[in-house]
Subunit: 353 residues, 2 copies
């Protein structure tokens, strides 16, 4: 694969790049005459034809039928985005426009919604944001409420503003007074610490000090662990799926159905995003590379976002493979940065206690 990129000389690279740029902007197979003109090279169409024949042999371009022009293959796009793409820096106005959509006072949920919808609106494709992992945010408060025999509602307040409920099913029953005491104990010991510290501490105590504690405290630790231990909800925020209806190349009804269904189910979207969470910059998936049939003619552009220096999530867009990568890549990149810093600012000024 990458061999072929090494073997390309300057002229071949120029022509491949020009061809793909032209195809991206017009959607038409591009012929030798037009390519020769567009490339700016001082060569004739016939020479371009020879080069194109070489590129076709290497699997970078292909012709839809005997005598149409050429279109890029998946491998061609791959090479293009990896080593030929020159991204346009987003303008100051664009950045400001995106930034203005992130209200520093908003809740996490609202910020994620904004990110997703701004991605979708600016790129005119579908936007998506992976929920941030909450490991490193502070636990403000924990409370328990008896719902019934052996059923307890655990309420976690994190960052002084976000509330998570979890219903716990227990082997034994506790009175509301017991629960209140346990909550007091946990709050006294743990409030203000980050969730993963809390969890680590609870687990350690369960192992180490099992014998030294009375039954009540032991139960409290156990309960706390159950409440905090549950993973963050596995979810993703999406927006603007319907933008995808506007693209000619996604006209296959059945494929389109599967694509939109994927946005409803969210599971596969989640899978794609999770593949992208490693790596610290923009990543691009082209067509079937992600291993999904219905993904033909689609590409994904993603970027991770960080809070406090740690990557906590990924966001990105899905659109037709024939998209303006030079425009989309920097938008995704800058949105990830701005979402990160919006979340960051918020983390620094929790407005409680």
């Amino acid at each position: 694969m990458t061999d072929s990129s090494i073997q390309l000389d300057a002229r071949e690279r120029t022509l491949l790049r020009t061809l793909i740029e032209s195809y991206i902007s017009d959607g038409q197979p591009v012929g030798s005459r037009n390519l020769a003109r567009a490339s700016g090279l001082k060569v004739s169409a016939a020479t371009v034809r020879n080069v194109m024949a070489d590129l076709e042999e290497r699997g970078l371009i292909q012709s839809p039928h005997t005598s149409a022009g050429r279109v890029p293959t998946t491998a061609g796009y791959r090479l293009f985005v990896d080593s030929l793409l020159e991204v346009r820096k987003p303008s100051r106005e664009q950045i400001d426009a995106i930034e203005s959509r992130f209200d520093p006072g908003a809740s996490t949920q609202d910020l994620l919604d904004s990110a997703s919808s701004v991605l979708s609106q600016v790129t005119r494709m579908a936007g998506m944001v992976r929920l941030p992992r909450h490991r490193n945010v502070a636990l403000s408060q924990i409370e328990f409420l008896r719902l019934g025999e052996g059923r307890v509602l655990a309420i976690l307040v994190i960052d002084g503003r976000e509330v998570q409920n979890r219903v716990l099913e227990l082997d034994r029953d506790f009175s509301q007074d017991d629960l209140q005491r346990m909550a007091n104990y946990l709050n006294a010991h743990l409030a203000g610490k980050s969730l993963h510290t809390v969890r680590a501490e609870l687990l350690r105590e369960m192992r180490e000090v099992r014998d030294d504690l009375d039954a009540q405290m032991l139960a409290a630790i156990d309960l706390g662990e159950q409440a905090v231990g549950a993973e963050d909800p596995d979810d993703v925020v999406v927006a603007g799926q319907t933008q995808l209806l506007g693209y000619e190349e996604l006209s296959d009804r059945e494929r389109l159905r599967q694509l939109l269904e994927a946005f409803n189910e969210k599971r596969e979207i989640l899978g794609i995003l999770d593949q992208c969470i490693r790596g610290d910059r923009v990543q691009i998936f082209i067509g079937r590379e992600s291993g999904l049939d219905w993904f033909e003619n689609c590409s994904v552009v993603t970027a991770p976002y960080s809070v406090d220096g740690e990557v906590v999530g990924v966001l990105g867009v899905i659109g037709p493979t024939r998209m303006s990568y030079d425009r989309v890549v920097p938008i995704v990149d800058v949105t990830a940065r701005l979402l990160g810093s919006a979340l960051n600012v918020r983390g620094e000024s929790p407005d409680s206690q």
Copy 2:
């Protein structure tokens, strides 16, 4: 409008019904020869042509162009569903299949999801369920949690299993102890009563006994009213929107986009369903009758569902106007009944206190 239905004689009714049935099953304009044969009447095509000319004059059918067959107009469909439709009773197996999807032990949310997806799967169209109003379910418990200066989290447990959170922004600040006392007071007075009783009682106390109470109790009542008074979350569960991509007659890209967007936004879907909540049986909206442009070629079939004899919500499907009403109507009807009784069973056996 309904005048024309009165003026139709038996033969005209038979022919209109046969025409619409034929068009629904084939999607092709139907001509006089075929209609004469399909109707089972002992009349010639020429006679049928005369009748068709009459029906066209009354606006019940029309021809797409000079010499194609006829297709029903909106008014024709209207008359058809109002007075010509003979629904097929759903088979025992169908009923059982739907019923088996409602797990009596499931949460309300799960039941609504099941209803929505079963509607979508059985009808191969988009299913939707309006969230039930909770006015008549019992309040099990109310708790308050101080989040920060003047910000209080109210936790309502209803029916002993469902939990609702509401964040209240208050003018003055309360300590957690104050809040605890207020919750105790409210629980002692109100637990076990239905939400609307609770609300009515709180409002009454606020008006009538304002002077007799100490400040603490007054604050408690005020807080309780704020917590309970907020309307049920305005929402709707949808499923299977993508089924709509399969219909030829919904091929206009822009319309289709608006339709799917409506499912994402949910606001307009909500509006449509709310129009249908009055009336105690199946209702049908045809095409633009609902006043929405993008609704051309679409119809809605809805039915209200009841818990404990009171209508609490409405469910239904959206699909192409050319749908098999005789099959869809009873499915929607029976699903509404079954959802109602599933919710009912649950309400009778709250497993707490």
